[in-house]
Amino acid sequence: MRPNPRLDAENVSVFFPLYHGNSRSLKKTVFAVATGRLGRDAQQRPGVQALRDINFTLRSGDRLGLVGANGAGKTTLLRTLAGIYEPVMGRVTIEGSLNALLDPQLGMNPDLTGRENIMLRGLYNGLPRSVLPRLEEDVAEFAELGDFLDLPVRIYSSGMLVRLGFALATAIRPQILLMDEWFLAGDAAFMERARGRLEDMVRGAEILVLSSHMLAAVEEWCTRVLWMDQGRVRADGPRDAVLAAYRKSAATATVEVA
């Protein structure tokens, strides 16, 4: 393990080209029109400027919360920090082990058994084969699947699916943890049990980036908050100051709509 993880964004801009007239692009278009970000790139291709000129440096001990309205670019920023989207301008530097919890169903194949899905996740994460039995044991124990472990995931109850997804996502501990808000959703009974495990993981991570609408979660886990608006950084600073400004702005916006 590297002694000093780092996660830096330097003038990062991401432009989303719009090529396919599918629902996903349509949704993006609607968001973009609503937020005034529909534009064209240098080659006059239509698209969305999803991130504009994002700057920050994160070192060991930093806990960054991302807040902002839907379509503000939070998830795109997480994907960029995870190295999934490569920036068209600017620079992203990642050093240290990283785990991005973006999609609860990542790579889960409903036709495969729970055990096979666990093995696949281990392989997706590039774990050596010697670690796979340990991963399986850990996930099976937490998810409490019993004999269902050898049955296709397709027949699982929704509760079992959530448990498996959560157990898988929290089994591999990174130095840099990127987390989307889906992770905090779940039924109360399960969350109680999951909470300890999640807290272990969050505390164990040296750098945390959490994207959430649930300001309580940001308040609890983050020390610094980045407020995003239309792909730009609207405010970046200590948690309480930024959250106060964000709450005030959100309240005004609600009044305007009403």
Binding site: R2, G83, V92, I94, S97, D111, Y124, E206
Partner: protein, 288 residues
């Protein structure tokens, strides 16, 4: 870093050192592409598992499993062999072994090309949720198609046994041909996968081209049926690539022209594929 609590899982994520920037210089793009290939190869175990699961899931719950591939190929070759043997006035004892070999090898090429178009789009969810070398998906498509080929090879062996034909030691000469096929297959997956992710009209276009190629390439018919016009064949890349593997398995030595043309076409394919991969690699997650 605080000490991990006792109940915490002890599995740590893999280390990453990445610097991604908007530099579109050829050198930077090439370095990232090389890194993708290298990391993709180290994940060979994942590619093997995914390819194997693809086949297993396709035939899940069926009695014969993937051996349906063997059976349907056998039925088709038997039927076509009798029909075309009669139409072309050829001796079934020589025509059928030829057809079995040609058809199975062509099926590999044809299915691989069709599959390659969806190489990246079919893994959309994974590509958008974790950073992973794109080359893994190309390896997966290759593994899947090699498994299909392995099931169909049974038919070739059976037909050869039934008609007591054997290519002899010459068959070993197919090995360099197969090696070239593996390299070309990966190049096709990367090339068509990237184009297919960007332009959704690619699969039907590719399917039409492969269909035409099937008729103009001597798969069902023998090259010598062209008579004096046989010299045109090496201009068809499909013929050269097919011939470097097929001829040795029929007990014939592929001509130098055929090998030269196969190498030439492969070089063009690899160059094109590399050129596109270096440029499209970083863009694929935005396209799918």
């Amino acid at each position: 870093m605080s000490a991990a609590p006792a109940n915490a899982p002890s599995i740590t994520a893999r280390d990453v050192a990445l610097e991604l920037h908007g530099d579109r210089s050829r050198r930077h793009l090439a370095a990232l592409a090389v890194r993708d290939l290298r990391e993709g190869l180290t994940l060979w175990r994942l590619a093997l598992t995914l390819g194997w699961l693809d086949i297993r899931l396709r035939y899940r719950g069926s009695l014969l499993g993937p051996f349906w591939l063997t059976l349907s190929t056998a039925v088709m070759i038997g039927a076509l062999g009798l029909l075309y043997g009669a139409l072309f006035h050829m001796d079934v004892r020589t025509y059928l072994p030829f057809l079995a070999l040609s058809q199975v090898l062509w099926a590999f090429l044809g299915l691989l090309i069709a599959d390659a178009c969806a190489c990246f789009t079919q893994s959309e969810v994974v590509i958008r949720s974790v950073r992973m070398p794109l080359f893994v998906h190309a390896l997966r498509v290759l593994v899947r198609n090699l498994l299909v080929l392995a099931h169909n090879v049974v038919v070739i062996v059976a037909v050869d046994l039934i008609f007591a034909v054997s290519p002899g030691v010459m068959a070993l000469l197919c090995l360099p041909g197969i090696a070239l096929w593996l390299v070309d297959s990966l190049a096709i997956c990367v090339l068509l996968g990237a184009v297919g992710a960007r332009f959704r009209d690619i699969p039907p276009i590719v399917a039409s081209i492969t269909q035409i190629a099937f008729f103009i390439t001597p798969v069902m018919w023998k090259p010598e049926q062209l008579g004096a016009r046989v010299w045109v064949l090496p201009f068809n890349p499909f013929f050269d690539l097919l011939e470097i593997v097929r001829a040795p398995l029929l007990g014939e030595m592929p001509t130098a022209t055929v090998w030269g043309a196969a190498l030439g076409y492969s070089a063009v394919l690899l160059a094109l594929s590399w050129w596109l991969f270096t440029r499209a690699r970083g863009r694929v997650p935005f396209w799918i």
